[in-house]
Symmetry: C2
Subunit: 184 residues, 2 copies
């Protein structure tokens, strides 16, 4: 960030009074521009005992399989956002059954929230961000062609949790522990 | 948003190709500026059977009581963010026990994630955003002086859930249903 979105002035990185972190502060109007993590929402979406997957038509990981997921939009709830992604990427209408997992990925400034959803009719079709879509039993899942580590993780969480009640909570790519101190 | 944070050019609201929503697009460099919901993280933080509350020293709702909570920062997990707020606002060191609730507040573009935490020693002190801090049994909670509807909600969720396993999920201030059509 180089310019103020409010007045077009140059911004500089400094710690505002009463704050403890450097922020982008406008040199012209003084506005503080906070930068916060993004939310990704998605769903493990079922039809009977099958799981809905979409093969990505876009970078990153074009050609690999994922559950429907994407950035939460302003004005929608996380559940509504997950159902929107299910429809946009896989053409399926579904209902939320329960919260499944909260994943933290601080290194890429993301929090991901996943729901368990159930299709309300047996229709799927690839959206513009998908090459193809399919409904897979557990044994048919293309484990070697999944797009992201989080996709594998949420499928494993689904297997572990879809009959239980506990919501999974994972912290991905945690900062490494500090280097051990060097001897003088 | 009036100016591009990358080049300082004017931005205009239009629907980019392949998108379905209006975005702030730079008229000079073409950059698309997405605006996404913010995450608030907080904790119902316990010492024995008492709940840690802080009385707000800042607007909005100065002078009213809240659980420690605030905006998630880049580079931290939701759990770490909740513990940071517990320390910054109430001077308490704590450990996360479990996820307690996910609240959606789409009308103010917020998702709030609350944890159950447990203090690791009996020390509390008001941070600069707090007038005072206290440890309250259930019956001592100042119900008439709570800062936000979500504070009351999370305390009720804690009561309902702290012995169980289900994570609460609430959708606050959902968009009202459309007005009934007028007869001609
Ligand atoms: Zn400015
Ligand atoms: Zn620009």
């Amino acid at each position: 960030m180089d310019y103020c979105s409010s007045c077009g002035g140059r911004v500089t990185l400094r710690i505002p009074q009463g704050d403890s972190r450097p922020r982008h502060v406008c040199t012209q109007c003084g506005m503080i521009h906070y930068q916060n993590p993004n939310m990704v929402v998605g769903a493990v979406c079922m039809w009977e005992d099958r799981i809905l997957l979409a093969r990505r038509a876009i970078a990153p990981r074009e050609g690999f399989w994922t559950i429907p997921a994407g950035f939460l939009e302003n004005g929608e709830s996380t559940a509504d956002g997950a159902l929107r992604e299910v429809f946009e990427e896989a053409g399926a209408r579904a209902e939320i059954e329960r919260l499944l997992a909260v994943y933290d990925i601080p290194e890429i400034h993301q929090v991901q929230i996943f729901y368990l959803a159930r299709m309300t009719r047996a229709e799927i079709s690839a959206g513009i961000e998908s090459l193809e879509v399919g409904l897979f039993t557990w044994d048919e899942i293309p484990w070697g062609e999944l797009a992201f580590p989080t996709v594998k993780a949420i499928l494993k969480d689904w297997q572990r949790l879809h009959q239980g009640d506990a919501v999974s909570r994972r912290d991905f790519w945690r900062p490494r522990p500090p280097e051990p101190e060097r001897k003088p």
